[in-house]
């Protein structure tokens, strides 16, 4: 009748195959360590998308050549960067140069593995103070940024003209405009309220410009800001789906003309330009006219590992070259970032009017980790949860933020 394959043989074969795979992994994990004269440096970043991928490589090649070293670049997917850095840290083998997202820097700096850049002689002349702030941990500069980004309001020009609406400048105008622009399948307004850092990043300008802070999440100012968000979801001018939208998803909705206005970062400009949609960019609306805008500072910072005298010196030399004016401008233009040096940024605002709102926001932009340091990721997660609870759950903004406040360390 039915014959079954003898189970025994199969049971044996699987582990030996796994065993072989395991040995292979062990084999590749062992890498040669260099000694004597330093001829190569290592570098890690998450610029996997073109054109950033190619230009990062080209810039590193060029700066390596100037310093007389070869640079082995490792590009990881974004969510793999921190795990792979931590893995490196546990072997005491961090890459010489690391391009890290700025809210993650305190975590790496807290290990004590990073080189204090000012002591190492990195030149910070001409940089925005606010841009240097995102590279500091415990008042020491461990990371330096080539270019920064921030958030602004993007508006669909045709839709606003049809509805005879001007780009809003205050919260009240924003909520009226969103109402006006909501029609059928189109929502007036959108932002990312996804359950991690991106959602928090989008909420912070509203929290801060209303006078709230990351350490007092249950303050009336914070509750008012979150209430402002959830009211717009309630009245339908913002889709409830925003709780599952990343900033890229929000951009897709805007490109598909399903959303008339959105909060997003300057890095979306190349994507929008490519699609040929006509859009306007204006500073994020503030609670009352005359209030100061306060956007969180976005962008990556370069950090150098403490890998010993000669390697550190060479890495700093390469870094200095990466921060040269030409490289800064090229990098900023490719990414639609704001160059971290003031005079270069002003030049850029003149050349590209759509970048002007972002350049304007840089001097007052705040570092997300200034107050919380290495506790930031946990608090950021709690804020994202609170946002979701208020927008999609049954809780009020006050309850949700009261809950989030418990994750703020008391010290």
């Amino acid at each position: 009748m039915h014959t079954k394959p003898a189970n025994g043989t199969r049971r044996l074969r699987a582990p030996s195959a796994l065993m072989a795979a395991g040995l292979l992994t062990l084999g590749t994990a062992c890498s040669a360590s260099d000694d004597g004269d330093v001829t190569t440096l290592t570098s890690i970043d998450y610029n996997l998308a073109e054109p950033q991928n190619g230009s990062t490589q080209a810039m590193l090649d060029e700066c390596g050549e100037q310093a007389g070293v070869e640079i082995e670049r490792d590009a990881q997917p974004r969510d793999q960067l921190m795990p792979s850095l931590l893995q490196g840290a546990s072997q005491q083998e961090l890459p010489d140069l690391m391009l890290i997202d700025n809210p993650d820097l305190p975590q790496v700096a807290a290990t004590g593995a990073l080189l204090p850049l000012e002591e190492a002689g990195v030149d910070t002349d001409g940089f925005y103070d606010s841009a240097l702030e995102i590279g500091r941990h415990d008042d020491t500069l461990y990371g330096i940024t080539a270019g920064v980004n921030g958030l602004a309001l993007f508006t669909n020009t045709a839709m606003l003209e049809d509805a005879d609406v001007d780009p809003p400048a205050t919260w009240e105008e924003l909520s009226d405009a969103a109402d006006e622009l909501t029609e059928g399948d189109t929502s007036g307004y959108a932002f990312s309220a996804i359950g991690h850092e991106e959602g928090t990043f989008n909420f912070e300008p509203f929290l801060w410009s209303n006078g709230g802070s990351l350490t007092e999440l249950d303050s009336p100012e914070a509750v008012e800001a979150l209430d402002f968000w959830s009211r717009m979801v309630e009245d339908g001018s913002v889709s409830q789906s925003v709780v599952n939208w990343s900033q890229a998803d929000v951009n897709d909705q805007f490109l598909g003309e399903h959303v008339a206005m959105m909060v997003n970062g300057s890095w979306q400009i190349p994507v929008l330009d490519e699609e040929g949609l006509e859009y306007g960019v204006s500073p994020l609306p503030v609670p009352e006219s005359g209030d100061d805008p306060a956007t969180p500072m976005g962008g990556e910072v370069w950090a150098v590992a403490q890998n010993g005298g000669e390697r550190e010196e060479l890495a700093v030399e390469v870094l200095q070259c990466l921060l040269g004016d030409d490289n800064l401008t090229e990098w900023a233009e490719l990414n639609a970032y704001v160059p971290a040096k003031e005079d270069l940024a002003d030049q850029m605002a003149e050349d590209n009017p759509e970048m002007a709102p972002f350049v304007e926001s840089v001097p007052t932009a705040q570092s997300r980790t200034a107050e919380l340091g290495e506790d930031y990721p946990e608090v950021s997660g709690a804020i994202a949860d609170a946002i979701q609870e208020a927008l999609a759950g049954s809780g009020s903004a006050e309850e949700a933020l009261g809950q989030a406040q418990q994750s703020v360390p008391t010290s």
């Binding site: 546990s90 709780v243 949860d385 979701q388 927008l391 999609a392």
Partner: protein, 330 residues
Amino acid sequence: MVARIGFVAPIVVYLVLFFGYPLVSNITMAMREFTAASFYTGEAPFVGFENYAAVIGDPVFGTALLNTAVFTIASLAFQFAIGLGLAVFFQRYFPLNGVLRSLLLLPWLLPLVVSGTVWRWIYDQEYGVLNQVLLGAGVIDTAMPWLSSTSMALTAVTVANIWVGIPFNMVILYGGLQGIPAQLYEAAALDGAGPWKRFSAVTWPLLRPVSAVVLMLGLVYTLKVFDVIMVLTQGGPANATQTLTTWSYSLSFQDLDFGAGAATGNMLILLALVFAVFYLRSTRQSAGAAAREAPRRRVPRLPRGRSATGGARASVAAAGEPSATEQERS
């Protein structure tokens, strides 16, 4: 003796290296305050069970535990019931049987990220096909926020996971059905048993061992489901779809609190272990019962750790009928 050790050594080395070591270090990590800095400095102060206390005291813990239970039980029940229904259905002979059966395997063959993304589109509030169909049919008046409401997201994610798991259940149960000798059905039919009686008296008892395997594997698989939830909702909105697995990941890799993440992971392992012990005991009992009930026919002695097929043979013997394998042997 030496040969015997040589034979066993590779698997022992493998288990110690890739199973024992991570497990032990996970247990020790959960008892330390292990942060990002610990990786570099190697300093992770011993805190005993503080991580466990912190995790259990966290309001998310209750939510995650309940979600894990609901998600697992609902997934298993529906996957098994639908899988069994389909397996029984495909036992009949009809044209295109084989083609259809292979097509039904598709969900199992697709990478989970792909299935997850497709389900995300289906569920989309504004443009998802599900809302369009329901609106068109007049079942609902307004588009439902399947994935963006805290009250509906868990159901939506569970349904997607059930869809993914049906083929696995169907294929294994179909295999089990094929192993039931046809003459049992003939005999039952001669005795005047109808379709339901044939199912409850022949199919179900003889399929029990295979069912136990399917459910056990399904349980372990469902407890650790990660990809589907990550793609659909990332545990949100507001932790509405957070399970112990996704929470453990987010504690470790988003909050970078590796001690707490490890503690959560260990509790998950413990949970799976409890069910595994139940399973082992139940197969041992049924094998023992078989040996008692059929003393004249010697049940072939199985080596330590009775395997699934061992259990099947034993309970076929318990039913007092010669099994396929035994017929071949005698």
